[in-house]
């Protein structure tokens, strides 16, 4: 209808398929994310980290460059599972800050402005709404974690040859699965807290607290009860256990362990099985989904 008519006209044209409707929410979320300088800064930092790691890989196979820098190949960091784990840890930290900035306001703003009835009176379901809200975060976190991680893996494989690729395929699997677990957990936690607390800054504080306070409590439990299981309370320790399993690394974890004469000494903690970490992460994700199912309602439930 031409705007000068100022009249109501129905719409009889084609409609978008229902499964594509959440993309409208995601598009809006991405536009809002890229309008933030901090997001651009964090994405830039991720690009720089990737570039540095790519240069490290490249130097291994460029003797003229090594000669110019007066470096020996043996003095360079070896390109192995630990190399990629270090990259993933840096990427995970950047992903955490991205999630901290973008996750808490996502649903909280809609809750604060009573926007959920507007969304849910349309042909989208609550899971679709959640998918639309999570998608921008998942995409941006992918851009800083597994996408550059796999790029580095492919770069190394292309320079080292087919035998390296075949021998180290579990590293690629570790990069992808390790990143996926981290970004899904971050997105779920950020959105669940956003939906439940309905305000940005309390949700941000809760997210920070959730990542660090249980770790401290777990450490205290480990120390007093002389048990390794307290670590399972910390999301950061959980990811460390999961990543070690995926990358087939056996890096020791340090803490206070029983010493001589019933005292405590700083030493290597007994290992915690990877399955227990997977189980806790699955429970955490299920808890987030339950919280979202409870909080994502057009109107608060009447009690």
């Amino acid at each position: 209808m031409p705007i000068f008519e100022h009249a109501y006209h129905p719409y009889d044209g084609p409609l978008t398929a229902p499964r594509r409707l959440p993309l409208a929410i995601a598009r809006r979320g991405l536009a809002e994310a890229f309008a933030s300088r901090l997001v651009v800064l964090l994405l830039g930092a991720a690009a720089i980290a990737t570039l540095v790691f790519a240069i490290l890989i490249y130097l291994h196979y460029n003797l003229p460059a090594l000669r110019i820098l007066r470096l020996a190949v043996t003095k360079l960091v070896p390109i192995d599972a630990q190399f990629f784990t270090v990259f993933l840890v840096i990427a995970a930290v950047l992903a955490f800050f991205l999630a901290l900035w973008l996750g808490p306001p996502a649903i909280a703003r809609d809750q604060a402005n009573n926007a959920l009835p507007l969304y849910l009176s349309r042909p989208i379901t609550r899971p679709q709404y959640l998918w639309g809200k999570m998608l921008p975060l998942l995409l941006l976190l992918s851009v800083v974690t597994w996408l550059p991680g796999l790029f580095l893996f492919v770069l190394q494989a292309s320079l080292a040859g087919g035998h390296w690729f075949a021998a180290n395929l579990p590293i690629a699997e570790g990069i992808f699965l390790g990143s996926l677990v981290w970004i899904v957990l971050l997105s779920l936690l950020a959105n669940a807290l956003s939906a439940a607390l309905k305000r940005r800054w309390p949700a941000t504080a809760a997210l920070v607290g959730l990542f660090f306070i249980p770790g401290i409590v777990g450490g205290i439990l480990d120390n007093f009860l002389a048990t390794p299981w307290g670590r399972l309370l910390s999301p950061l320790a959980l990811m460390r256990i999961i990543w070690q399993g995926l990358f087939r690394l056996n890096l020791p974890a340090y803490g206070f362990v029983p010493g001589p004469n019933g005292g405590r000494v700083w030493g290597v903690l007994p290992p915690v099985p990877a399955w227990s970490a997977w189980l806790v992460v699955a429970l955490l994700a299920a808890g987030c989904l339950a919280l979202l199912a409870r909080s994502l309602r057009p109107y608060p439930p009447i009690r």
């Binding site: 209808m1 031409p2 705007i3 000068f4 100022h6 009249a7 109501y8 006209h9 129905p10 719409y11 009889d12 044209g13 084609p14 409609l15 978008t16 398929a17 229902p18 594509r20 409707l21 409208a24 929410i25 809006r28 809002e32 703003r109 809609d110 604060a112 402005n113 009573n114 926007a115 009835p117 507007l118 969304y119 849910l120 009176s121 349309r122 042909p123 989208i124 379901t125 679709q128 309602r297 057009p298 109107y299 439930p301 009447i302 009690r303």
Partner: protein, 330 residues
Amino acid sequence: MAVSLPPPAPTAAAPAAANPATIAMEGLAVQLAGRPILHGLTCQLHGRAIGLLGPNGAGKTTLIHTLLGFYRPSAGSAHLLGAPIAAGAAARAAIGYMPERDAFIARMTGVQFLRLMGELSGLPPDTALERAHEALFFVGLGEARYRPLESYSSGMKQMAKLAQAVVHGPRLLFLDEPTNGLDPTARRRMVQLIRALRASGETRFLLSSHLLHDVEECCDEILILKDGRIAAQCDLEAERRTHRRFVFVETQGEGAAAFWAALQQLGCVCATSPGNRGKIILPEGLDAADIFRAAAAHQVQLRRFEYKRDSLEEIFLRAMNSPAAAAGAA
């Protein structure tokens, strides 16, 4: 990828028909927190403009929310334009909703907000943008469409809520207290817009309001709830048509007696009262013009001429005091 919505599937409660009921309810009951709110509502509303009335706590908003799928019925079923509400999201494709409370999406201009709402209703992005501009002009926010929603006044936000409800050209609109919090001028404008929607003949709506005058101006069918039960259902349009046969007149002139006699000869039933006043019941085949002709023929001036009409307030009060409503309250 674009698809067209399939026509709603016919069911037992809403048989396939060229013109299905706007809203059909069959024993619809809703419980919230274990407390029954709606008690087995059964009715068929065919009007294009349906007014939903009732005192506070009657269940009006609960009924709207249930029809929108926000609450799950504890018993019974309901159909909107022939499509069962149990169909979930698919049933909401042709529906627009203007909530009672302030509701918008933060950090957006008016046109961005409406575009998103249009896209979420299934419009392709370009069409959604085009219709967002049109809908904002329709509600009178054309000049403010690039301003952030947060900077809108209460009245403008109310208009933006109406615009988001119509941006996708729905076939059925739910308007929950659309004139709430509006000053008289803005209220007048809102009523005009709702009347324009009705006049377009392209959409139907359910209007919930406490303001009987607004409902009377905009609606042709009324559903009155009391304590979660139907207290009255009234086709205002049919009532108006019926009342067009009842006329009150006040005459002046020497030929009044002859005038009344002439009307009786024409088949009218007349009752005169002191002060040159009288009531006329017109038989089939006669209309107001015949009364004017008779008056002119007998040199009588008609100083007052009006059709009998029950005000909505009378209908509402009657419904509140009706035995059915009283039974509901008990």
